[in-house]
Amino acid sequence: MKPFTYSRATSVADAAKTAASTQGARFIAGGTNLLDLMKLQIETPTHLIDVNHLGLDRIEPTPEGGLRIGALVRNTDLAADKVVRRDYSVLSRALLAGASGQLRNKATTAGNLLQRTRCPYFYDTNMPCNKRKPGSGCGAIGGISRSLAILGVSDACIAQHPSDMAVAMRLLDAQVDTVGADGVARAIPIADFHSLPGDTPHVETALKSGEIITSVTLPKPIGGTHVYRKVRDRASYAFALVSVAAVFGKDGGGRFAFGGIGAKPWRTPSADAAASSGAKAVAEAALSGARTTHHSDFKKTLVERTLASLYRQKEARP
């Protein structure tokens, strides 16, 4: 870790302002991803703004019938929340499929959205990586890429987005609420929150300098049958090779979002539109434009199989 200074923010506005006015400042909440990366000097903030005490840890109904989830709500609490369990169980399921009990106790809602890739070339500072060091090249292309992305990738980067929670958020059309350095609040639809790598894989979100996430808002419940399926070799405490979040409606419709395969949490309207045609059709639509390596080609099959499993699971229910 490079030396840094540390302060506790006293208000959201103060946090945003300090962040914008301090070169190299970063917010720290759970710290479960940031500190790991700081030890490796993949992240090198010069100042940490501790936002844990801003009271952003409440889950409240919105006037529109949705749910506002404070940025600092811990993964454990979000998954266990009564309303989330009842109305957004795909979110509970996604959260519980991720990490470990210890990590979920610390990791926050906003931090999870900002989680960085698990690409091993990103993690090894001796390896080329355009995301970590723009212009250095991509070690993963032509390297070991079994776990990496096949959708939304570019010639510069094939890193996967590792989050489970964000996949469910994407499925539920969440919006990310922020306050900018100027004190102005804005709402970013989750679809626009994460950026695709393109030529600038180091740019990962739509957040501007100093902008702080205050909450994530879910629209009113959509009903239906919620399922989250995460596929991995190890039974627990492992990142997804493929994960699928789905909500099946009574009318035969459905919506789908995917983890483990995208440069960001992945969702396409055409896949949702194919819901009534079954797993194969949904997979075909979702995988449109997929670019695989000889290590990651199996993910196309696995997406279809995972969908098939979900359809089977749905059918088995009364």
Binding site: P3, T5, T18, T32, S89, G101, L103, K106
Partner: protein, 211 residues
Amino acid sequence: MPSDHLTRRSLLQGSAAIAAAAPALVPTGAAAARPTAKEGTGMIPVELTVNGREVHLQLDPRTTLLDALREHLHLTGTKKGCDQGQCGACTVIVEGRRINSCLTLAVMHDGDKVTTIEGLGTPEKLHPMQRAFISHDGYQCGYCTPGQICSAVAVLDEIAAGIPSHVTPDLDKVSLSNSELRERMSGNICRCAAYPNIIAAMNDVAGETKA
């Protein structure tokens, strides 16, 4: 260090404050006895309640809670297996919840209550979970053991509190089962793999608690 580093120190709230109360547990390796050579990093006072005792430390903000425990308070029962949140050996209970102490800074816990393996029991007065680990041989090399035990204690509380897990069939009906215990303990890796013995120990303690 560049001079702006020193400027930024002024952002530290209360960085000039000196630990007020006399330390109840005097850490022999504490910051006071450990002057940083050359420029150093601004030290920050941190007050923790560790195993029921108040401790006052002056810490480099880079110090993780794990290293504060092991290197400053000499509470080496909490282990460093990976220092990356990938093994669970560093598990401690903070404000009633188990966390990986390697992935959190000590300064973030100013004012927090921390329970480590040393706070659960001693060789003379074992915690029921510690006793159960011995009688079920829930360890081998012993290095992951303190983390397993802290986790195990917290897991039983989590189940009692109705917190669901990945394998909970109905999110609203949380109950104790072997598969629940295995899933919830999966953040604690045991390479010697005493896994079934650990689950047996936990069942033992859960049974005692119920009875």
